[in-house]
Amino acid sequence: MFIKGLTMTTDSSFARTLFLATIPLALFSLALSGCEKSPTTGQIAAGELAVRIGASAPLTGPQAHLGKDNENGTRMAIEDANTKGIVIGGRKVHFELISEDDQADPKTATIVAQKLVDNKVSGVIGHMNSGTSIPASKIYNDSSIVQISPSATAVNYTAQGFKTTFRVMANDAQQGRVLGEYAAKNLAAKNIAVIDDRTAYGQGLADEFIKAAKANGAQIVAHEYTNDKAMDFTAVLTVVKGKKPDLLFYGGMVPQAAPMAKQLKALALNLKFMTGDGGFTPEFITLAGDAAEGVYATLPGVTLDKMPGGKEFEKRFVAKYGAIQLYAPYCYDAVNIMIAAMQKAGSVEPTKYLPVLAGISYEGVTAKIQFDEKGDLKGGAITMYQVKGGKWQPLETLGAIAPAAH
């Protein structure tokens, strides 16, 4: 009966008013989400050359927290450059960030890519996922726009013969090889189970992992699948349990890796759990709780404290945006290397600075960055981490050029 008082006014004009009241609410939410897409702060002073830099990552959906982290890393680099006052070709330059949400969806990524091209960006930092970077790369290549992905690791991304695609992170072949070797050799795993999330990234990494593990004498006893929106893995984990492996590798991102670690424990699967860079976030530990202890993960590059400027970057980033999720330092490097190439070439035209970028050598916060002829990171150091005492602790840095220690 307590609803009676509320339902008394049933005349249609009241209902209509209430209905209309939802419209501003919807518009308000649109406006708020729209805010994030507008160019960054700062007015352009007279005589300054405005240069647009595009960025794209999933800002909504299950990986939104990682996408926002990417955007923050990119934004910080651009704001730093504007504060410094960069001069290119004798003119003072003001950089503007145009950030787009690709929802981690390949179809949306192509629409967003076209939008960035139409906005006449000088270069693009993105996309975050391999599944979105690959379809978008064709659109950027057709318009000769430089694309530097901070985090797309699928081998295919740079293997399409495009001159415009670069990445500042080791690819899955490099990372998968380190993971597979480490599992089979250092951890002496004989029977290995693999689960991947069927995305370009997860599948690619799992395939490279399997190759390397097999080459080092391990057996793959199970290969199961999930997707990048799932939360329940008990069914596939039960299958894995039946095959009695001593190590499980997951190719995918943290929203799945963390509950998976938890469910492993709940199903009493006593095995070593290993994943790639997609699981290497502070969140993994808070979400998986006790189950995170002992889990292995890799992250391309070296630890921030080993790089010149790495610690300082971390301090400033944390003060401004909170804890680094995952790829923000790579975005920061990607922007800086792009700007460095523009400065060196004396032009913001992609066709002019592209050859300079291809041959550049840049000391970033994640690694010393040099590209090979495909646009991949040369050398590509990879660090293996393990959760110990509720924290990711670096075990060792494998492969590649040693960073210049300072």
Binding site: I3, K4, L6, T7, T10, S12, A15, R16, L18, F19, A21, T22, L25, A26, S29, L32, S33, L59, T60, G61, P62, A64, H65, G67, K68, R198, H223, E224, Y225, T226, N227, K229, A230, M231, D232, T234, A235, V236, T238, V239, K241, G242, V254, P255, A258, P259, K262, Q263, A266, L267, A268, E283, T286, L287, A288, G289, Q325
Partner: protein
């Protein structure tokens, strides 16, 4: 054998959550003929409200068990208010509009709720405090832990309670009357607006409990978690026969079982040709097969019987 048993347990636990959410879809459909696509988001809001009140209460130094119970109540009240407002603001003005209009509105409400939750609770995943120490129990080699057992038993109890409400109380009779014929019910003196509001509130309260169960079981809450769950529960409702309460329960449990057994055995049956990536394909294949032979779902009544 123990793997089969384990897969059945996995499926029943997952299925009981589907069933609770599916009840919300089916109750609204039964009474209004409307598919309330925002229901999945109500589940998410329920989980988020429970999480927020739980952390606040724990922060105030209230004992964990009491805090958990209080936060369940708060989440249920919050979701009931939300369910009531959704119906009042978004659906009631469209009750006599063409069927497509409320359907599109439902999708709109779902997007608005998702974005609101993203603004309020942020994009990150929240970890859900583990208050119930989870002891694993072994049954013939299969493992079920406390939370899973609680989810299963609580879900069955709630479903039984709902059946009693619908079939044994005055309110339930009014609900069934409105479902059968709105105009006739109104002529008999049933306040249909009130009945519809209460239906939405009941469904939303169930959604809040389901949201809490999911968060407690997986240990996380996120503004996007309602989407896939809502879709699966809707599938379960259709499988069982949308509009039918027993159908929603059966459909939910069955979908959970199909998924876990599908993921577990499809590889073995096809000699590794199809893997666990065909889990959803398998579930939808069963759904299509059921709908071919029984277009209104397993327990759904045929339209001819209603007319």
């Amino acid at each position: 054998m123990e793997i089969l048993l384990q897969q059945i347990i996995n499926g029943l636990v997952q299925g009981s959550v589907y069933a609770l959410v599916a009840l919300g879809y089916t109750m609204v459909y039964g009474i209004l003929g409307l598919i309330n696509f925002a229901h999945g988001e109500v589940v998410m809001i329920g989980a988020m409200l429970a999480l927020s009140s739980l952390t606040t209460l724990l922060g105030m130094g209230i004992p964990p068990v009491l805090a958990l119970l209080l936060s369940i109540v708060l989440a249920m009240l919050g979701c009931m208010a939300l369910g009531y407002s959704i119906e009042r603001i978004a659906y009631r003005p469209l009750r006599h509009a063409p069927r497509l209009a409320p359907l599109i509105t439902a999708i709109g409400v779902s997007i608005v709720l998702q974005n609101l939750a993203m603004m309020i609770w942020g994009r990150e995943y929240h970890s859900f405090p583990q208050l119930i120490a989870s002891h694993p129990h072994t049954f013939g080699g299969a493992i079920i832990n406390d939370i899973q057992a609680i989810i299963f038993i609580l879900a069955l109890a709630i479903m039984a309670g709902l059946m009693v409400v619908v079939h044994r109380t005055r309110l339930g009779r009014a609900m069934r009357a409105v479902a059968e014929n709105q105009h006739a019910a109104q002529l008999m003196g049933v306040d249909i607006n009130r009945v519809i509001s209460i239906t939405f509130m009941l469904g939303s309260a169930l959604a809040a409990i389901a949201g809490l169960m999911v968060s407690a079981n997986y240990g996380l809450a996120h503004y996007y978690m309602g989407f896939l769950l809502g879709l699966k529960a809707f599938t379960a409702a259709v499988l069982g026969g949308i509009g039918n309460l027993r159908g929603a329960m059966l459909g939910g449990l069955l979908l959970g079982l199909i998924e876990s057994l599908g993921a577990g055995y499809i590889g073995d049956f096809t000699g590794g040709f199809l893997g666990s990536n065909y889990q959803d394909v398998f579930a939808f294949f069963v759904l299509i097969a059921v709908l071919v032979f029984r277009p209104s779902g397993l327990l759904g009544e045929r339209l001819a019987e209603r007319a």
